[in-house]
Assembly symmetry: C2
Homo-oligomer: 150 residues x 2
């Protein structure tokens, strides 16, 4: 049986365009821990293209943002020694996002994202992410997430 993804457990985002398990027109990314890294493997659909043969940069920013956000949320539970999804719910939103496009990312093949927690500072979590296609790094992201539950 497949291991549950962060997105199977984080209920506040179940309808999200990027990571919501219930959004049928969304990207439906799935993330999980591999050691200390949040890992996501995602296959683009034909309409996620930019120009001919490449994935749209905004779609890649969406995958990176949502994967890092879910990893940040999972890390926040872990830092408190709690099971992901146990109440009261921790909710994080993106405060800022930086994406560097190193080279075009080919359409029609999967991408792999690896996110690592850089810093947990009060209600802020900083995360970095590398996205690879066919083993080659094509995009790098970094973001700050802020806790908004009361």
């Amino acid at each position: 049986m497949e291991e549950p993804a962060f997105q199977d457990i984080i209920n506040s985002l179940s309808g999200c365009f990027g990571c919501g398990r219930d959004n049928e027109k969304g990207l439906r990314i799935r993330s999980h821990w591999e050691g200390d890294e949040g890992v996501c493997r995602w296959m683009p659909e034909a309409h996620h293209r930019a120009g001919e043969g490449f994935i749209n940069g905004g779609v890649l920013a969406t995958v990176i943002d949502c994967h890092m956000g879910c990893t940040a949320t999972a890390a926040a539970y872990k830092a408190e020694g709690r099971e992901l999804g146990s109440g009261p719910e921790l909710v994080y939103v993106t405060a800022s996002l930086q994406v560097d496009y190193l080279r075009p990312t080919p359409a029609g093949q999967p991408v792999e994202l690896r996110a690592s927690i850089r810093q947990i500072n009060g209600r802020k979590i900083t995360v970095a992410c590398s996205l690879r296609s066919g083993g080659e790094e094509t995009v790098r992201g970094e973001a700050v997430f802020v806790r908004v539950d009361s």
Copy 2:
């Protein structure tokens, strides 16, 4: 008759998820000049949400990126004293993108984006963008685009 948008003329991006006029599952943004500003008004669909009631941050990054990219392309033609779309075609891609989320952007109502050219330096163009919802600024973006046609 409605004025043609940049996206009606830029053929290399006609299938793009963010700005392609022919991508039926895409965001299909439309941008035009108002003075020196590139302006885009865009209405999200229900599935572009994040949590309940707000637009997904990655979708907003996509709208901002594609609107700034099309504005950069239009500015490059203008800087050469040429009609947008006249041959040979100028093609720009995003090198880096920074997005700051100032506050949540409500779903179910249009957003307005205003982009201005910060610098044209050889094959690089830097653009800044402000996104408003109901008159209030909710997101700011900045990006560097690089010319890739030979």
